[in-house]
């Protein structure tokens, strides 16, 4: 049912966020990063994200969950649907992108990522 083919394209991982967020990834060797201090996020985060999204050398973009709130509607939509590069948001919630969840609801018809649905109904 599945076939494989090699694209032979070497790409990098990019990180966008506050300097505290990006430092750890730089420690792991990530060199493509966009530092946006917390107080500048409302103005500058859109531009930083757009820069990395338009960079063909970037295959994966890493962002913090909370930073999604600072993005404008259009950039946020782009982040949620982008496949090349794919944007991975991480945070303490571990829920993943809200856009993906919405897309699942739309395509399948039910919220498969609903954590309450998996929980034991007898639990209170």
């Amino acid at each position: 049912m599945s076939q494989r083919q090699n694209d032979n394209r070497s790409q990098e991982i990019a990180v966008v966020g506050s300097p505290e967020f990006t430092t750890g990834f730089r420690l792991a060797g990530v060199r493509r990063f966009e530092n946006v201090p917390d107080d500048e996020k409302p103005e500058d985060l859109d531009g930083a994200v757009t820069n990395v999204l338009e960079d063909d050398g970037v295959g994966i973009v890493v962002m913090h969950d909370d930073d999604m709130e600072h993005l404008s509607r259009s950039v946020r939509g782009e982040v949620e649907t982008s496949v090349e590069p794919v944007v991975i948001t991480i945070g303490t919630s571990g829920a993943g992108g809200g856009g993906l969840r919405e897309q699942i609801k739309r395509a399948i018809g039910i919220d498969l990522m609903d954590e309450d649905a998996d929980a034991d109904p007898t639990e209170t």
Partner: protein
């Protein structure tokens, strides 16, 4: 819609062909949609596991880097981060699942040993090494999550498209075709009934005409006989 269709036998045959094709396409698309959903469910299970691991790895990495910052200072951590020489790279292979091309991401130079990191062993402490290692593990999880989430996004787009096509066939195209088929069949039946009625009327009219002609002929015949009789009965006066 049905009013735009010409009620002819040829049009009916064309519509029947289209119905057959649409029904076959509808069945195939339904199977494709169901197959994609099943494949997607497998990926979703994997994605939920990967997401859980990612959250754990992020928390562990944060704890390690916060510890390093507290013990060594932010400047030392940033200094070590700026000294890195080996950079992780990813290469993408593609895999085809039921016509959907999903990526398979291979990574290189993500996990490194102390010597490969480039910031030197003497100048930094074990806490920075631990933080670097934790972030390398986090990167591995991120790469896995990227692969799975890209596959999910692509499959969801395909599922949505297929679902739209199935619905368009089921609720728009096929009902319209059935409606047109019924309309043409009704019209053709009506035309047939009209034709039969017309033929009947013509037949009746012909029979009536024939009957009238016969009657007229009979009438003409009987009138001639009466005249002849009258002529015979009257005779020639003074003929005796």
């Amino acid at each position: 819609m049905a009013k735009d269709v010409k009620p002819t036998r040829k049009e009916l045959m064309q519509i029947e062909d289209r119905i057959e094709l649409s029904e076959r396409g509808h069945g195939t698309l339904e199977k494709k949609r169901d197959g994609l959903i099943m494949e997607f469910m497998d990926i979703l299970d994997k994605a939920q596991d990967v997401r859980g691991d990612l959250a754990d790895d992020y928390e562990a990495a944060q704890t390690k880097i916060n510890m390093a910052r507290a013990m060594e200072g932010d400047v030392a951590v940033r200094g070590a981060a700026a000294a890195l020489q080996e950079h992780p790279e990813i290469t993408t292979e593609s895999k085809n699942i039921m016509g959907v091309v999903v990526p398979q991401i291979e990574s290189s130079r993500v996990s490194k040993d102390l010597g490969q990191r480039g910031y030197g062993i003497m100048g930094t402490s074990a806490r920075i090494d631990e933080a670097a290692e934790a972030y390398e593990d986090l990167l591995e999880s991120i790469i896995l999550a990227a692969e799975v989430e890209t596959a999910m996004k692509k499959m969801l787009t395909e599922i949505e498209t297929t679902k739209r096509r199935v619905n368009a066939l089921e609720f728009k195209l096929l009902p319209e075709l059935y409606e047109n088929q019924d309309y043409i069949e009704q019209k053709l039946e009506e035309q047939e009934r009209e034709e039969i009625f017309r033929l009947k009327k013509i037949k009746e009219k012909k029979e009536q005409e024939e009957k009238e002609a016969r009657q007229a002929e009979a009438d003409t015949g009987s009138t001639g006989e009466v005249d002849a009789e009258q002529a015979t009965a009257g005779g020639v006066p003074g003929g005796d």
